[in-house]
């Protein structure tokens, strides 16, 4: 973007005209990418659902594949629609910190559950028959 042009708030019409020249080519290329990503996302969705109907035998495998596809889709959205692939350092730093805390939270919370000694869990008493409270 030409500096002299953008610094002095331009007349709107000349502005957009100039922007067209500066960007037309770039943006047109981007639009193609956006459409491709869109199709990719649809394909991912179809794949996930198809997998559900196929019924893989292994549950962990199903979960892994489904989450893998979701992650790929998420990267497509974040990378291209939110143009993260060409973002500035500051944004990366913020997101990196967030990713660290997010991962720490999820991992430690789930670990915290997993680590409770078996046999003493309060949900061990599952399937308890709840008698109806007759006093109410």
């Amino acid at each position: 973007m030409s500096n002299a042009h953008t610094q002095a708030q331009p007349h709107p019409h000349t502005h957009s005209a100039a922007a067209v020249q500066a960007h037309a080519h770039d943006v047109a290329k981007h639009v193609k990418v956006y459409i491709a990503v869109f199709l990719g996302l649809l394909a991912g969705t179809v794949a996930t659902v198809a997998m559900y109907y196929v019924h893989l035998d292994s549950v962990p495998l199903t979960i892994t594949i489904a989450l893998f596809i979701a992650t790929v889709k998420a990267f497509l959205v974040a990378g291209f629609f939110m143009h993260l692939i060409s973002e500035k350092k500051t944004i990366y730093a913020i997101l990196l910190a967030t990713a660290f805390f997010f991962a720490g939270m999820m991992y430690l919370i789930v670990w915290g559950r997993d680590e409770v000694p078996r046999g003493t869990q309060y949900w061990e008493g599952r399937n308890v028959q709840l008698p109806v409270d007759k006093t109410r």
């Binding site: 610094q7 002095a8 708030q9 500051t90 913020i94 910190a97 967030t98 660290f100 805390f101 720490g104 939270m105 430690l108 919370i109 670990w111 915290g112 559950r113 680590e115 409770v116 000694p117 003493t120 309060y122 949900w123 008493g125 599952r126 308890v128 709840l130 008698p131 409270d133 006093t135």
Partner: protein
């Protein structure tokens, strides 16, 4: 400022600075960071006083269990009703606090002090007033968001306050609102806990908006030449604090929504299967987990304690540099330490949960991280101590409070270590030792830092100085009584006295020989309570001094303390837009007593002189 101003004459909004805004725009719906800072400050100080007042009533109950509250007992009865305030069975006098009311006061004291007093005062009030000035910005990056942030805080506060007067009274499940208690404590459908949750949602929203604003401001609006390593330490502290708020609060918001669903919609996110309430099986779908609430709460809760302390450390660093007239020792260590604290504070939270039966491996993990996080805290404290070395110290009130902060925070931090080891925490958890620990960090720690900040920046806010003599009286008395209040609690905690007990441990006395809580330990309650009330009285000189000085104090110059940072290089009080000249930064934040300079301080915006002259 950017070039667009020069050609902007066609846009009417540029001229808005020319006419004075009306009263409402100026004082109520202001978008000026300094006014918003002062709004935060006043509101938070009011809540601080209110939280203190609740505590004084609780201290009566602990010292004179079951006796009617003197003077205001009847007034409380007429405000809160029969359920809350009862009669003394022997004399028939009104004013005996019910256990439920004690629990409500306890829960709300904690909530108000943490979320409505200290955080808004330390992070938002000082942050708003000082940060844009110190980085040489005209305002915050998003002034209107800033206003909304204050309004959310205000609404949250009103909701919390109103909850005292609804049927059933305020929330009474502790400031931590542990489930399932928080879901079962109230028989009413809409109750104090509902208000608590909705109030928290507003406060969380306010914090989030504030945090976004602070970070964006510090990243984007630093004046030319204000590189990262030239930022005053206070700005760094606010920066990290803002990140803690930004990333730690949302999980609590999620948890609050889930608890709200538990309370109103009958879900059981935090309610286990097979739960029995008052002898009857609870009619809930079950399958939830109380542990989950604790995880989500403390995921915020621990970073929150650093939110409470970091701005205080920042304030103290500024004041120490200014009053020792020498640079802070180890500026870089301070910055790296504050970052280390920020990162680590997200992975230590479960040290609040050792006694939940979490399992030994994960306890060990959290014990390890807890020990590691104390290292940067110690580094910060050490740097500040060493900064005193060889300085020609000016002992004004602000400096006295800052100096007292150091050992007080030291006691608080060091007593955290036995809590951080899970084996010693077995004994100390949920006793008065914990109360003493965290109050040492927050009360004589953070609150002293806040007082220091008030005495220090008062002349910039109002153009007048506070009275030094009464300031010193305030300081000495506060220091003495703070310690008289909290020091005995360590002893009580060691002896095994539980926190959150309506009768101050008297139940244990009857079980003497079984759990063995001696009368001497319980008797300390009386002394502590008297010290607490005396501490209240000791604030009177401050309050009078504060209001007197706003209108009658000695006039201050623009830079009365001879300070280097940009906040002191403005007109006083700073106008809308802050600086009357373009600001460019040429040096680090603490250039005091630089050899070869005439003055003993060199402001950050003073250009380098040409070597030739």
């Amino acid at each position: 400022m950017d070039a667009s101003t020069h050609v902007a004459h066609a846009h009417p909004h540029v001229h808005e600075a020319h006419h004075e805004p009306g009263f409402l725009r100026k004082y109520v719906f202001s978008t000026d960071h300094k006014m918003i800072g002062m709004q935060y400050g006043f509101t938070a100080l009011l809540f601080l006083a209110f939280g203190f007042f609740l505590m004084m009533l609780m201290r009566w109950q602990l010292a004179y269990s079951g006796q009617p509250i003197p003077v205001i007992g009847e007034l409380l009865h007429s405000l809160l009703g029969d359920g809350a305030i009862g009669k003394d069975p022997t004399t028939g006098k009104l004013g005996v606090m019910s256990p439920d009311l004690y629990n409500a006061f306890g829960a709300m004291h904690g909530t108000i002090m943490v979320f409505l007093a200290i955080v808004p005062l330390a992070f938002a009030a000082f942050g708003n007033f000082v940060v844009p000035l110190q980085i040489g910005a005209v305002d915050m990056a998003f002034p209107r968001v800033n206003m909304v942030s204050y309004q959310c805080y205000f609404i949250g506060g009103v909701i919390m306050f109103a909850s005292f007067f609804i049927p059933g009274g305020a929330a009474r499940s502790g400031w931590t609102s542990y489930s399932p208690l928080a879901t079962l404590a109230h028989p009413e459908f809409i109750n104090g806990q509902t208000f608590w949750i909705i109030g928290m949602v507003f406060l969380i929203t306010s914090s989030l908006l504030g945090a976004v604003n602070f970070i964006a401001t510090i990243i984007q609006l630093r004046a030319p030449g204000m590189t990262w390593m030239r930022l005053p330490f206070f700005v760094w502290a606010e920066f990290v604090t803002a990140f803690l708020l930004l990333l730690a609060f949302p999980p609590l918001e999620a948890a609050a929504v889930m608890q709200l669903a538990d309370n109103l919609l009958g879900t059981s996110f935090f309610l286990p299967s097979g739960m029995v309430v008052a002898g009857n099986p609870a009619e809930v779908s079950g399958g939830g987990s109380p542990l989950l609430w604790q995880h989500l709460f403390w995921f915020l809760g621990h970073p929150e304690v650093y939110v409470l302390i970091l701005p205080g450390m920042g304030i103290v660093a500024e004041i120490i540099a200014n009053n020792t007239r020498k640079p802070i020792w180890g500026y870089k260590s301070l910055v790296y330490s504050v970052f280390a604290i920020g990162f680590l504070s997200f992975i230590v939270w479960a040290h609040h949960m050792y006694l939940t039966g979490m399992g030994t491996k994960i306890s060990t993990f959290f014990q390890t991280t807890t020990m590691i996080i104390s290292i940067p805290s110690v580094i910060i404290l050490t740097c500040l101590f060493i900064s005193l070395w060889g300085g020609s110290i000016r002992f004004n009130t602000a400096m006295l409070f800052s100096l007292a902060f150091l050992p007080m925070f030291g006691i608080g931090g060091l007593t955290g270590l036995p809590l951080g080891f899970n084996f010693s925490d077995l004994h100390l958890h949920d006793t008065y030792y914990v109360i003493a620990h965290f109050h040492y960090v927050v009360a004589p720690g953070t609150i002293f830092a806040l007082f220091a900040g008030i005495y220090f920046w008062f002349p910039k806010m109002t153009g007048r100085l506070m009275n030094e003599f009464w300031g010193k009286v305030h300081f000495i008395l506060s220091l003495i009584f703070m310690n008289l209040v909290f020091q005995p609690m360590f002893a009580q905690g060691f002896a095994g006295m539980n926190r959150r007990m309506w009768d101050g441990g008297a139940t244990y006395a009857t079980a003497d020989g079984v759990v063995g809580l001696p009368q001497s330990i319980i008797g300390m309650n009386v002394g502590i309570s008297h010290a607490a009330w005396a501490l209240g009285l000791a604030q009177i000189p401050f309050i009078i001094n504060f209001f007197y000085s706003i209108w009658r104090g000695k006039k201050a110059s623009d830079n009365p303390w001879g300070a280097t940072t940009l906040d002191w290089q403005t007109p006083t009080p700073p106008p809308h837009g802050n600086f009357d000249k373009p600001i460019e930064v040429h040096r680090g934040p603490y250039e005091y007593s630089v050899p070869g300079h005439a003055a003993d301080f060199t402001p950050q915006n003073e250009p380098e002189k040409h070597k030739k002259h």
